[in-house]
Symmetry: C2
Subunit: 223 residues, 2 copies
């Protein structure tokens, strides 16, 4: 599947057209892809007896599809299969501290996708999707792993949504205060937020010491 | 409102009883409170024409209630008012790298709350809730801010859910690999994840230089 994004923006629908602060909306596929690729996790909404329910989960992307997985016995996945779901991935980039409580905000990048959850049933396609999951989490890790067994594949459900009904919403920059407030003796500004990683902690169950591999060090360079 | 948690655990319902990996479930109020207080943001699920929709937002807690806010004109808030919603806040604590793709996981702390969204209509109660929001974001910031105006209060909707139907789910520790896999020559372990803050960036619209106040430096100590 080619990963070169279609240059045509995603067409907003009644559900994905951003209404509040619509200047912050973005329907470019490249923006949607970049946010999904950068977000470590997402939240999936599904219907439980007619009411909304939420499950945080890991997601990954292959082309114009966003994937997630779970136990084949999971209630979330069984209820979501073939049903309308909504997926949101949000990255918090900063706190925006204004002169008034009202103008406090956060900088963020967010993607919301609506659609009918599809299930991957073909075992080879499922295995390829799980490979993409591991490679999204830690690029370069898959080739060195113990091969996936038939039992593990069966115990895993992999699902996806097409990125047809998707939108991004972003905020960046400093506080937007009322002009009169800017003369007040109040410090205002932004505080950048980022994800940092600690040093890898080796599993004590290793029978002999194994050096932390380069793919782990590179992915989780401390910052 | 006293903030000493009721020592009685929250009674799980059909919706909040954790089914998968139920050893990771926690219904203690103190756990639920601590996760909600530590999570910088949450995701809110609501019904849009019978299908689930998602909105990431900031939340805060006062006693046994979790609050969020938005524009009074917001579609999310208008649809959520008086309706069944679900709120989830998740903190990613680490990547768990196993010997098999199947046993890869993440360490996390998550809270899910179900209930009927309530609206704060009393202006004084709304103002107190917004104060709690700012103090949750940056303790010590509220007293120095320009006072909230009647227009701003009117333009803001504040909503809440009781923490009656809530549950926490947590994972910590290293990979849980098949015993036979532990002899393989594959590095396994965990990589801790945390939120780090950059140096505060002053808003260039300040008419004279103002030092970064202590409440900002203390809240966002770089890490």
């Amino acid at each position: 599947m080619s990963d070169r994004p279609d240059p045509t923006p995603i067409r907003p629908t009644g559900r994905t057209r951003v209404r509040r602060n619509h200047a912050r909306a973005d329907y470019e596929r490249e923006t949607v892809h970049a946010i999904l690729d950068a977000a470590p996790s997402c939240t999936l909404a599904w219907l439980l007896d007619g009411a909304p329910a939420l499950t945080p989960t890991l997601h990954w992307r292959i082309g114009e599809r966003v994937y997630w997985h779970g136990s084949s016995a999971s209630r979330t996945l069984r209820r979501a299969a073939g049903a309308e779901v909504c997926l949101n991935a949000m990255i918090l980039d900063g706190y925006v501290l204004a002169r008034s409580a009202f103008n406090h905000s956060v900088n963020f990048r967010s993607v919301t996708v609506f659609g009918t959850a599809q299930t991957v049933s073909d075992p080879e396609e499922k295995c390829a999707a799980l490979r993409a999951m591991v490679e999204h989490m830690v690029p370069g890790r898959w080739p060195g792993l113990r091969a996936v067994s038939a039992r593990e594949l069966k115990a895993t459900s992999v699902m996806w949504l097409p990125l047809d009904e998707a939108s991004a919403k972003l905020r960046s920059g400093g506080p937007v205060d009322d002009e009169a407030d800017c003369a007040l003796d109040i410090w205002a500004g932004t505080v950048p937020v980022r994800t940092a990683f600690g040093a890898p902690v080796a599993d004590p169950k290793m029978s002999a010491p194994i050096a932390v591999p380069r793919h782990v060090l590179e992915r989780f360079a401390r910052g």
